[in-house]
Symmetry: D3
Subunit: 338 residues, 6 copies
Amino acid sequence: MSLDLVALGEVMLRLDPGDARVRTARSFAVWEGGGEYNVARALRRCFGLSTGIVTALADNEVGRLVEDLILAGGVDTSLIRWLPYDGIGRTVRNGLNFVERGFGVRAPLGVSDRGNTAVAQLKPADVDFGALFATGVGGLHTGGILAGLSDTTPDLIETALYAAREHGVRTSYDLNYRPSLWHGRGGLTAAQAVNRRLLRGVDVVFGVPTADPVDVDSFAAHAERLAAEFPDLRVVATTLRHAYSANCHDWGAIAWRDGEVAVATHRERLAVLDRIGGGDGFASGFLYGLHQGLDLLSCVEYGAAHGALAMTTPGDTSMATLAEVRALAESGTGDVIR
Amino acid sequence: MSLDLVALGEVMLRLDPGDARVRTARSFAVWEGGGEYNVARALRRCFGLSTGIVTALADNEVGRLVEDLILAGGVDTSLIRWLPYDGIGRTVRNGLNFVERGFGVRAPLGVSDRGNTAVAQLKPADVDFGALFATGVGGLHTGGILAGLSDTTPDLIETALYAAREHGVRTSYDLNYRPSLWHGRGGLTAAQAVNRRLLRGVDVVFGVPTADPVDVDSFAAHAERLAAEFPDLRVVATTLRHAYSANCHDWGAIAWRDGEVAVATHRERLAVLDRIGGGDGFASGFLYGLHQGLDLLSCVEYGAAHGALAMTTPGDTSMATLAEVRALAESGTGDVIR
Amino acid sequence: MSLDLVALGEVMLRLDPGDARVRTARSFAVWEGGGEYNVARALRRCFGLSTGIVTALADNEVGRLVEDLILAGGVDTSLIRWLPYDGIGRTVRNGLNFVERGFGVRAPLGVSDRGNTAVAQLKPADVDFGALFATGVGGLHTGGILAGLSDTTPDLIETALYAAREHGVRTSYDLNYRPSLWHGRGGLTAAQAVNRRLLRGVDVVFGVPTADPVDVDSFAAHAERLAAEFPDLRVVATTLRHAYSANCHDWGAIAWRDGEVAVATHRERLAVLDRIGGGDGFASGFLYGLHQGLDLLSCVEYGAAHGALAMTTPGDTSMATLAEVRALAESGTGDVIR
Amino acid sequence: MSLDLVALGEVMLRLDPGDARVRTARSFAVWEGGGEYNVARALRRCFGLSTGIVTALADNEVGRLVEDLILAGGVDTSLIRWLPYDGIGRTVRNGLNFVERGFGVRAPLGVSDRGNTAVAQLKPADVDFGALFATGVGGLHTGGILAGLSDTTPDLIETALYAAREHGVRTSYDLNYRPSLWHGRGGLTAAQAVNRRLLRGVDVVFGVPTADPVDVDSFAAHAERLAAEFPDLRVVATTLRHAYSANCHDWGAIAWRDGEVAVATHRERLAVLDRIGGGDGFASGFLYGLHQGLDLLSCVEYGAAHGALAMTTPGDTSMATLAEVRALAESGTGDVIR
Amino acid sequence: MSLDLVALGEVMLRLDPGDARVRTARSFAVWEGGGEYNVARALRRCFGLSTGIVTALADNEVGRLVEDLILAGGVDTSLIRWLPYDGIGRTVRNGLNFVERGFGVRAPLGVSDRGNTAVAQLKPADVDFGALFATGVGGLHTGGILAGLSDTTPDLIETALYAAREHGVRTSYDLNYRPSLWHGRGGLTAAQAVNRRLLRGVDVVFGVPTADPVDVDSFAAHAERLAAEFPDLRVVATTLRHAYSANCHDWGAIAWRDGEVAVATHRERLAVLDRIGGGDGFASGFLYGLHQGLDLLSCVEYGAAHGALAMTTPGDTSMATLAEVRALAESGTGDVIR
Amino acid sequence: MSLDLVALGEVMLRLDPGDARVRTARSFAVWEGGGEYNVARALRRCFGLSTGIVTALADNEVGRLVEDLILAGGVDTSLIRWLPYDGIGRTVRNGLNFVERGFGVRAPLGVSDRGNTAVAQLKPADVDFGALFATGVGGLHTGGILAGLSDTTPDLIETALYAAREHGVRTSYDLNYRPSLWHGRGGLTAAQAVNRRLLRGVDVVFGVPTADPVDVDSFAAHAERLAAEFPDLRVVATTLRHAYSANCHDWGAIAWRDGEVAVATHRERLAVLDRIGGGDGFASGFLYGLHQGLDLLSCVEYGAAHGALAMTTPGDTSMATLAEVRALAESGTGDVIR
């Protein structure tokens, strides 16, 4: 096998009413998506790396549709755990995500229907991460969405991170705080506790909250504090976004590595078709940069450029090409602060 | 209010891939549907009666889409109980039904995703049936799908049937056995026990199993036995269907009332576009006949004609007009056996 | 110019809900169509003759859409009379035809919205038929739909027929009785009176009613009687159709010419997608045969084959090719009775 | 019944070519719409009030499609007067509105085809407004579009307004001058005469013309003059719009009540998908504010916010939610001038 | 790698106008397809084997779209040879296949646009079959379409077959004679000469012409003759099809192995949606049977059942599931003649 | 005939994935387009002149679809040369153009597949330009795309230009340099040599490269030099475009005639839906101005306005109306420099 990266997370069926609204739609386009998965998919289809997804699906027609979409995404499906379906969804389900993209003053709006899903029931013993990583996997990407799905998924992630550590696999984690996942379960405080526990095994963290507009010194100080608390942490990176409307954002990114800070080109009033997946687009472009051994500024530029392109197409996942990412990244005017 | 009929049951979002398959689809048309609801909708839109639906929905964008579809169905929405959504679907959901219509040797295929839905959580105390029926409701229609959703829905139905009895509301019940609902919960035996308990309060029963081809004497004998066991039972009716392929069925119906048996026109090799909802089409046409005080043969002819028309359009629910039903029913060659 | 055929009649915008119903549709495909026009269009696009349409349209966006469709139909648009639109449709309109194709026991159903249209207001003085026919037009095709549109259209047709007679232009007329056009205006009796008046100038008549099944001798006798009454009448032709369902028809045709009767291949249980335009398909194939100087049997075979093919595609107008018509016509088993 | 508001006006079928043009379209999405009706629909579906529509439709498939759409709009259909169709549309029709939304420098463009419609033929005696208002209706909304449809509709409106007055029903009227309706019938002068006659019975008037940019003092002076002329008039409100292109407008609103003037947040370069219905969106949001007893500034903010949201979706009618309107209205920076 | 089967052939982009015609279409759905490839795809997606495709594509957006479709097909893409595109298609192209499915008397019709494609330029030296087969490939499937593409493809196939022989890889070959490929290049005679040359290295041959209706003895005698001429040939199999119309076929299959003949269930008047790919469906089902070591009758039943199911969905490739194939195959009434 | 203008060039089938990407599309809308043809089509459908196209097509279903689209374009099809198709596309093909429109930072992207097309094989002897122009044609429009298709097309163009000269037909030529056409054939240098040879017979040249921003004096000087080199050259005109993103361009135009320079209104940040065909839109509007004898400023204003409108609709060709062009042109603020 020897995959360049394995993602660990849920893959949902995205149901997209196009330029209509969920609540009045009469048809939906479908895509697949998931915060962790989107990174693996983009690394495969845009950036040409080999990737896989560790997840679970209920074995019914919807699960097979998700598989069909993952196959088109080029992501290895052999690590998917298929759970038998009970015919009605009492015991296990597949995640669904009804999301409309918004327009102008009307913000994107969605409803995820992901209770009781197959992946939320995954337990550490269900996946032999040791065997997986022994095949020579290059990286493991996971994050706070998976961590918030159930009470068992943090254990699953922890097991994966420790196995990765043992096999020298680079680990990345996107904080991705989603209030709905923690509603009634302790909220942000509980999420932070879980993240804190898991960050101990992480090399690269995405999604650290920042001020708007960002202050480079504050960001650097925050990153230093994180690095002090989590000694394995080498890289802290995040996108910078200001949404004027659903279709018009200021867009950039910033990253810290070992004392160095790089700020990607600040793109003003970027035209956005569907913002879902922009952050994952950043993470995948950034990880591609790391994989290629690029300097930190190139990493943030590739990440920001890819995230910008990912928001020009419908669906959660990127349809950009490496040539497009490279051209956009290299036309940038980012900066490095040492 | 004074509705002609109230249905009690779940309303799901039907996701329909048209002439494609669920597992390879890239878009879905949406409709609403539910065995009990379909009867109320058809009585309203095709037959011109006033109807309502007693059900529950989770208050999210999907639930509001179902409401949008029910409104178009003309069915009173004021009896819907809205449950707050938790943002993820752990505690309550809306039912989804991914179904493809099949073609030729490829049978219709679906997967219902209705675990943990709002309606499955309805309890007798949640609905004041007494107050509802006191407004002068003409009929109550419910059935075995709702009864199979959870351990509490039989109690709900029983409460409704008793309240109907008290207020002189005619009650009808469609057996509608669905193996998936009873899988792991006792199967057919358990379903039959529940049905047996509930039939005590029922005037009209639909969906009694019959041989193929039907034997009038056996059917009559079976109906007599049911009437003996359930003294309130006045009418036993069911469709007769033989499917040569997804698109070609023999189609008819038979009914018993107080010793009389009527057999609807036998339609050979009927062209079928989407068979989902054919049985509900029969029930609604039949109930219309009862409501209008038609003779038994007219009731089965209206039911069979409406069921046949309901299968000529996509979606679970009928798009037929009363004029079409009447013309088709009256062109029939059914028979009465006394 | 020197067109092979000019049609005189209305061109409507057909609004087609596909496999849905008009009353529940959320979108419509649009086509153009009209009984007389369809013949000109098919002679141009399928049979390769040059044709034009004498008609009138209100000059608004809908009229321009109809023009766009006529252009695609290859029919000369220079003979269209454009009337100024009043912005609301009080004084003049374009004809609209909302028609669904039906399925199985559900018959095709439509509603034409063609009151007060531009063409219904055409008067004899509006068209210089003499000048038109002096350019060397080969044939004039018109019929009973146009004749029924208003009180002035019979005069228009009569003027055209007389001018055709003077210039040696072959004239054909499709009776095409539509009850809605004559409702409240004298019904069938009035229509027949108008047809009788107009048939005096006609060479070829289509759409003569026949028994089902047809009796060759009776048909011949009927044709002889017509020829006796209208001495110019040389050809009497009509389709033979028995509809088992919306999608399954027996289909054939019969024609008389100067004492000879030809019966086209009888096609049993022909698969029909959209029956609208089948009769016009026959007329155009038949007229092509006359134009090419084929024998009577070939004329009916070309007509019947083209009509059969025209019903395999959506829309009112034919999408068949001459090669397909020829192959189907020549595979036939029709017969000539002398 | 006891509806919160009844609208009096026409409901047309909107035929929408999406991002194509009417004149080259091959398909149309359909919506329902009408200046007066849109207000009732939004008050029901966005704002949760109960509403009905007093109108007339021809009883054919198109009329039934309009009914299907009105049902989805949640608006009570029991007040619709159905006129028998003649099969062709000579005597009565349903209104159609072919409208494209425009893009950039290409302006929205439409053609309404509403001559001779059922509602244009409504006469005072056709509706028993006294009985209707006696059921406890909260408000009556009508306007200048209906008034311009025919010579009888002003009488109809006047009758309704007087009956409303008698029963203490609040009345609102949107001037909505449409040149096409008055073309050849006296133009703006005639329209103003009718409006002047009808405003005598009106409490709230929308659509008063203003300068661009608006001058608060002039507006106030104009409102005072109207109030002096029409003593019952309590509120004068209007939207402020400057269109840079089809998709980019400055948008705001202003209102006067009893000497107080409130100006809604001025939104610059608002992204617009389909501007049709923006003004009706304002009226419904404003009336919601009045119904809830909000202060004047809140009324204009709710109106302007709802109008802005209504222009972010296709179709004439709003798909916004109350939560969205509230959030947008409350984020505003409007002002009150006393 | 160790793939269960590798196909060698072209993958084209299928452009499908749905129920419209190519010559009047305004939109096309796209699928991928190719006689040899379809077998690999079905073995992967329906039957669960691992498969790959040896082919070549021009590296442009169309080629990448084909790759996207192949990925969804689950077929290994690592064996695709990508040729640089010249920006215009003078030197190398990707194959396109515009095909409409037909309806009733209107036959399916297509036009392949595959001149000068990448795969037609493949030469023996371009693929290291020895290295490929050394990885443990189970089977090689190729056929007469590839052989007819250019003057070099027979050499390519011969090289592949010899390499397969050396590595003990089972070889199958579908004769698939397409007149257009041999037009102007020697026609059927030339095709037969190439086939004869290539059959020397083949174990299983599909597509041998048979009489309609088939005569078992003649078929057996023909197979014996082939086996005598090509000593390696172990299996001769073919479908039996009689098309009454585009949508209605009699369908069956017959096979010979080592003196035994098996005849699959004869399915009369099978409903067909899109016949393209039916024969490839048979080959893949049959090869699955061989791979599983089933008896000859089961092989033909699986093949015929899968072919029947493949024709119930749009596109060239199968969307059937193994469960459906098994159920249909086992419901059959085929026979073995020894 | 007596056409106002004849275009000489290729007509391709444009395959348009809408707001998706070619490489991930599952359906394509189709349009026809070609740099030279687009001018003829717009002059016919927007500006009302009579036009024709001299081109060649392979006679297969794709060619007939292109013909269907040209007919809708109103352009005379009698000058199309139909070449027999070989069934596979080895010897002759029709041009295809897969182009996506881009969004924001994602640029439009396409791949033309036009190698070996029918028009690239046209030779001077294939068209009798003398006879054509003798019918009284007003203008000939051709350009550098056709010139780049093959080694024979420059000869074809030269022949046409000389014949035009002889018959007093005005000639226009759009340089339209496309690198892909000249890749491997000498690149820009070769293209310029061909253009230089052909400009000798040209009256009006479009597409002369300019600086961004343009300098009027430099442009004038460049035009003077061209006029000196090519004495017949009377007019030099070109568009001025600066693309901020796929959907937002600055847009203008400039032209020189006999020492006079006119600069069209500079439109900043014009909203662009699909930029393909904008330049051809300019050329057609400009030529309309020349045809009407307008002054130079009006010509550039009509050209720039029409080009701007042409980019507000999907497809290569304009859907604008003359009324819209006139209104936009006349609202301009262009200038004349003498």
